[in-house]
Structures are given as C-alpha cells and as structure tokens.
C-alpha cells in the first residue's frame, strides 16, 4: 500500500451481531456489489452479543456513502462508524520469514529493531520477524526485507481506534441501534 492509496482508504468500524454467517454476509455483499476491500479484521467486543469488523474500503470502487448504506441494510449489522484516516490510530501486524544465513541474520534483526520489531524464530538459513506498525511503515518493512528473499509473509490487516483528544470520536454514519 503506497501513500497515494491512503486517500482512497476509509476505515469503517462495523458493529455486527455475533451470529453464524455474519462475516460471510458482509464479505458476500462486498463481492456482489463490486466494492474493494483493502483489509478486514474481525474481533469480539466486550459484549458477547456483538463483534466488531474493521474494514478498510476503497472508495474508488464505490462512494463511501453507498457502501455504508448497503452494509446497513444487512439485518445483522447494528451500527457503522467511519474513522476518518487523519483522526485514527491504526496498527497492523506483519510476520515475515526471510532467507538469512548466519551473516544476514544480524542485519535482519537490526532492521526489524529499527521498526521496534523482533526476531521470533530462527533456523540455520532463515529467520522470522514480527513487526507491528502503521500500514505505511509495514509497507516500508516489506520493501526493506525483500532483498533478503521473502519466503513467506503475512499481514493482519489494520485495526484502528480514534485518536485521543480528537474532537469527535467514532463518527456514526449509520446507527439503527435505538
């Protein structure tokens, strides 16, 4: 994800009923209406009846408002809030296994260290690192790791919360829970 795509990103925080098939309903809606997703993460909430889906949508594929209204029609969707990118704190986790013999190992570890990451597994010719950061920073990490030879790489997709002190916290764009 490059910086230029950031303006196309909008983060939707979607409170859904914690019922079988809800994620499939959300995913199926995005696919049948041709909306692009940059990332999607699901997590339980402190209320066991609900889960929270954090979706980063590409507003170039459809206007945000249309995406929100269509999502809101899903009976299991309780409320939707938009996190404006400039008012959100976002983090993502990256795990990468790269080719690194004894010589490169230190280099990889140092690189991970710059991003406050750590080496979490080592073999004679490979290391696995874990780095948490903003999606942009992780793009950078990916670029820097690739010359070593990436064997496997996984990212979680971002989760986000509103910045403290921002005037409005989550901006409800559709809220039927009332």
């Amino acid at each position: 994800m490059s910086a230029s795509t950031t303006s196309r990103h909008h983060i939707l925080s979607v409170l859904v009923e914690n019922k079988a098939g809800v994620l499939a309903r959300v995913a199926s809606l995005f696919s049948r209406r041709g909306y692009n997703i940059f990332s999607l993460a699901v997590a339980p909430t402190d209320d066991e009846r609900f889960s929270r889906i954090t979706i980063v949508v590409d507003v170039e594929s459809a206007p945000l408002e249309q995406i929100v209204q269509q999502l809101d029609k899903l009976v299991n969707v309780v409320s939707i809030s938009e996190l404006a990118p400039e008012r959100a704190i976002e983090r993502e986790l990256l795990l990468a296994t790269v080719e690194a013999g004894p010589e490169q190992r230190v280099e990889v570890a140092a690189l991970a260290g710059i991003f406050h990451g750590t080496v979490i597994d080592v073999a004679s010719d490979r290391v696995t690192v874990a780095v948490t950061g903003t999606p942009d920073a992780l793009d950078g990490v990916e670029d820097l790791l690739s010359p070593f030879g990436i064997v496997e790489l996984q990212r979680t997709g971002r989760v986000a919360l509103p910045k403290l002190g921002s005037r409005r916290r989550l901006q409800p764009v559709a809220d039927r829970a009332g």
């Binding site: 859904v16 049948r32 249309q66 209204q69 829970a177």
Partner: protein
C-alpha cells in the same frame, strides 16, 4: 403446551394470519407437512417449486400481504431460487420455508443437502437457519417482520429435519421479543428536507412525478393522486408502478423507459424537476445515465436509503415511506400557501409559482403528435397489440393482468389501461420468463373475486405451463392469452435490429407444441385464434368460463416489434418511434 418444531412452525404461520401456502413436499420437510393436515391453512400443491415461488409473489402483488411457499431441501430449495431473486428485485414480501437435512448431517454432503442460506444470501433480505426448535416462533415472527417492514422483500427460513421433530414449549413472541438489533427502517421524512422539496415543487417550470413501484408498496396511490392533483404535475408510472396512478387520469403520461411512450420519455428528458417517488433510476428507465434528464433537479423519496444517490445524485434526498412523505409534502405545500384545491393564497410563496400552462401544453402536443401506434390490417396477420386492446376493452376494468417477459409484456403494459392499483402483476427487475402462469394463479388465489388474465409469450408459457395442472386441480380459474408469435420475440427483435437480422436460436414454431391440446390435457379449455374477427368471440367465451382455466393460443404476427424503443446504452433523446403509420411492423 409442548409442540414439535413442525407443529410450532405451522402454528406460527397461523399466528401470522397465513391463509395459503404454495408448496411441494419432500424428505426434509416431511415433518412439517404432517401438522399441515390439521391446519386451517390452505396448501396448494404446485408441480414445480418455481411455480410455488411465483404464485406466492402473485399473491403478494395483489394482496399486499406476504406470499408463503414451502419446499424441501436440496433441489426443492434450489428450484425456488429464481422466485427469491425475482422478489428481491421487485421488493415483493415473500416468506419461503425450506426443509434442511438434520443438523448432525449438515456439512457432510448428505442426501439432498444444500447450503440454501449461503446460496440465497444475496437474493433475500435476510435468511435464517434454525438450530433450536424453541427459536421457531421467534424466527417466524422476525421473518414476517423483516419481509414486510421497510422496503419489502423475500426471506427464507431453513428448518433442519431434527429441529422439526424436536419438541419445545409453545409461546408467541411480542414485538419486544424479536431479536433484530440492526433492523430499524425509517418511515418519516426529515421535515427540513420535505420543506425544501416543497419549495422546489413550487419553483419548477417543467416538473414530472416519476412514480415507481414503491408507491404501490407504500399503499400511497391515493396520496400520489392528491399530490398530482394539487400541484398539477404530470405523472409517469414505471413498469413496476402501472396502476399506481390511473391511466385515464389527464395528468398520467404513461410508462417511461426503454419501451415507454414518447411523451413520458421526453417529458422526463426535458423536465427541470423530477420528483422520484419510490422509483430507483433503473437503467431500463434512464437509458444512458449521463444523458438522462440532464436539466432536472431531483427530489428522491425512497424508504431504502441506499437507493438515494445510488444511480443519480439527488438534490433533495428523503429517506422515508412514500405515503408518509407525500402526506408530509402536502402539509408543507399547505404551509407554503398551496391549498387542497391547488389554489395559491395571495402573497404566499405559492403565489410566486411559475405558470404551468406552457409545460402542460407542451406535454399535450407531444401526446397528440406521438401516440403509440400499430395497424391491424383487414385480412392481415393478427397484431398482438390488437389482442391486448380487445382483452382490455372486453374485461372489467379492475381485471388483474399478469405478464411474462418479452414483447408481449411490453405490449400489455403499453396498451392496457390500468385504472386501479394492484391490477398489474409482472416481473420487472428480474425479467423472469415463466412468471405469468404461476403468478396469475397466485393472484387469483389472493383475489378470487377478480377476473385474472395472464398475457403470456409462447416461450414463457413453455417454462411454467404445467402449473395449469395445479390450477385445474385446485379449481383456480385463471385465463391465459398466449401471444404466440412462434419466436422468442424480444430476442428476435434485438437480432433483427442490432445483429443484421442474423437470427440465432430464437425460432420456436407456432404449433409445436399444440397449445390447445396441451391446455386440454391439463384440464383447461383450449382455443385457437388466427384472425382479428375471431378475437372477440374467443374472449367472450373465455370470460364466461368460471369453473376451470382457459388458454387461448393467439397466433400473432411474428414480425411485429415493440416501439417506441431506446436502444440499450443510448440516450433517451434518441428514442426510436418505429416505422411510420402504415408501414407495418416489418
């Protein structure tokens, strides 16, 4: 009271005042068919589950109540996928109950197992897989609530066999017991927006009301009439809204769109204000969207907020029920000085209203210069429009008309005179061939006192004709007019016009099958009409038969085409009116 899940299901349907279920049993739904024997609910045994679905749609169309269908698992359930999709496209309230294999077998590719909730996820408003017999009354109540509240639509309840056989303590949920934390449709319009809309109405020089199927869903026909009459604004009624405003009303311009009439299409193109009420800017109405009604401001009222701005960005977007919002609009017009008679109070904002006479005169001129036209030559081939006009003129004016999909559907919509709401039953958004026969049956069940005619194509008829066996067996006296042009006519029309007359797989034959014999084999009266003179006597005879279905095979001119026409993707300004008078349909 201890009940089995199956008993609870039937009892729940009774609690919802269900009178009729269209269905066909099988293994997974067997337990539910047993208590049905002891129920007051009438079950109509169809010959194909698609028929059950369309019949339930026809029933819902004419009654406004949800249609109910019941099918078994696997192929039974997949056979009703098309009606679910059709009902989703046209916002028809439909409740389908499907059997499912026992919960312990789900996921094992058991006999007749299919994940129907996954399959129908995108073509239902919502669906449920019941996993506990105790949930059945609540789920049924939720299903009816979702199907009928807000924008109506189809729902499906999938009931595994072991759940039907399990026992539960009977209860009936109150509204508070429904577990739908994410379902709260809006009905009332935002007063500030309603006021803004009223101001736009009073400022417009060339306004048009673009009435859609939402008017009928909201039971807003009377409100619409009050609005049109008070403001003097002409109304177009889309394919889904035929009957929502009387065709014989002087302000009715008829149907817009791809096969709409010149005046309806052109008035929208030239309008400076479109008042879109329960309509959704379907591509069949707008033509090329970038060229649609370029000078018009748009007020869009719809109960589904996702429709507002989906296709065309409105200047005023009002989420709400059409009837409620129209009534709010009337109040706002009152406040701006336009009274119930359409008279403006002196020095009120309404008194500044531009004179509407030039616009109405313009519309009248278009109507005079560009009528719908066809010519029935004496001794010439029978024209399909002539048949539709004869049917229209020889039946009571509240006759219900169901149509298939194709040329005959467009002629039916163009040439019928719809003066009552809920008399037009058709598949608009989906364009499902085979809709007419079962939908007519469902309509007749819903409104047994009305005459029901289906205007069908020969191609469509062959898709679902076997439901006439159901109609005969259940004594449902529907009447079917087949406009038999021996072709998949609408496709043939496109091949003629846009593929240099290269006809690819559109010929059907006029007499294979023999429709009269087929009708008779299904217990119907069958007739054949080949000349204009024989049209009226056959219709007379059919109208007199009330103890069984009737099928008339009208052999119509295969070369006749539907005009006017806006080619797909073209601008509505490029409407083609067809050959000049007298050139015939070739």
């Amino acid at each position: 009271m201890r009940l089995t899940g199956a008993q609870a299901l039937i009892k729940s349907l009774e609690m919802q005042q269900v009178e009729t279920i269209f269905g066909l049993p099988g293994g997974a739904i067997l337990p539910v068919y047993d208590p049905l024997l002891d129920s007051s609910i009438r079950h109509i045994l169809v010959r194909h589950e698609q028929g059950a679905g369309h019949a339930a749609e026809g029933y819902a169309h004419v009654t406004g109540r949800p249609g109910v269908a019941m099918v078994t698992s696997g192929p039974g359930a997949t056979n009703i996928v098309t009606p679910l999709m059709d009902a989703m496209m046209d916002s028809i309230p439909l409740v389908v109950v499907s059997g499912q294999v026992a919960t312990g077998s789900i996921g094992t590719d058991a006999f007749q197992e299919t994940a129907i909730t996954s399959i129908t996820m995108g073509i239902t408003k919502h669906n449920w897989l019941v996993t506990d017999a105790a949930d059945i009354p609540r789920v049924v109540a939720e299903a009816f609530h979702v199907a009928t509240t807000g924008r109506p639509g189809p729902v499906l309840i999938d009931v595994p066999k072991d759940i039907s056989n399990a026992t539960m303590d009977w209860y009936w949920p109150s509204a508070d017991d429904l577990d739908l934390p994410g379902f709260h449709p809006v009905t009332e319009g935002d007063p500030a927006l309603v006021r803004r809309a009223a101001e736009l109405i009073l400022g417009a020089q060339r306004p048009v009301i673009y009435a859609g199927g939402g008017i009928l869903k909201a039971r807003a026909a009377q409100a619409l009439r009050a609005l049109a009459e008070r403001t003097g604004i002409p109304v177009v009624t889309t394919l889904m809204a035929r009957g929502a405003f009387p065709d014989s009303h002087p302000l009715n311009l008829g149907m817009p769109g791809m096969h709409g009439n010149y005046t309806a299409v052109t008035a929208m193109q030239q309008a400076d204000l479109l008042l879109a009420l329960g309509s959704r800017f379907d591509d069949r109405v707008t033509g090329r969207i970038s060229a649609f009604a370029p000078g018009a401001k748009v007020v869009h009222v719809d109960i589904d907020p996702a429709e507002l701005g989906k296709v065309r960005r409105p200047d005023v977007a009002i989420a709400g029920d059409c009837r409620v919002v129209i009534e709010e609009l009337l109040t706002a017009l009152d406040q701006l000085g336009l009274d119930g008679e359409g008279v403006a109070a002196p020095s009120s904002p309404a008194a500044q209203r531009p004179d509407s006479a030039p616009w109405i005169a313009q519309v009248r001129q278009w109507q005079q210069e560009h009528p719908l036209r066809y010519r029935q030559e004496e001794g010439g081939p029978l024209k399909p429009q002539f048949v539709v006009e004869a049917l229209r003129d020889m039946t009571p004016d509240d006759t219900i008309v169901a149509a298939g999909v194709g040329q005959h559907q467009m002629w039916a919509s163009q040439y019928w005179r719809f003066d009552h709401p809920y008399t037009w039953v058709n598949s608009g958004g989906a364009g499902t061939m085979g809709f007419a026969v079962p939908a007519a049956i469902g309509a007749k069940v819903g409104r047994p006192g009305s005459m029901v005619w289906a205007i069908d194509g020969d191609g469509c008829f062959q898709m679902t004709a076997q439901e006439l066996v159901t109609a005969t067996a259940e004594r449902i006296p529907v009447k079917i007019a087949i406009l038999n042009n021996a072709y998949l006519g609408m496709v043939r029309q496109w091949q003629e016009l846009f593929y240099e007359e290269r006809y690819s797989e559109v010929y059907l034959s006029p007499d294979l099958p023999d429709y009269v014999k087929w009708a008779e084999a299904m217990g119907c009266v069958g007739m054949r009409v080949e000349t204009p003179e024989d049209v009226a006597p056959a219709i007379d005879k059919a109208n007199a038969i009330d103890d069984r279905p009737v099928v008339i095979d009208f052999r119509t001119d295969a070369f006749e085409k539907v005009y006017p026409m806006v080619p797909a993707g073209a601008s509505n300004d490029d409407i083609i009116e067809g050959p000049a008078e007298g050139e015939g349909g070739r």
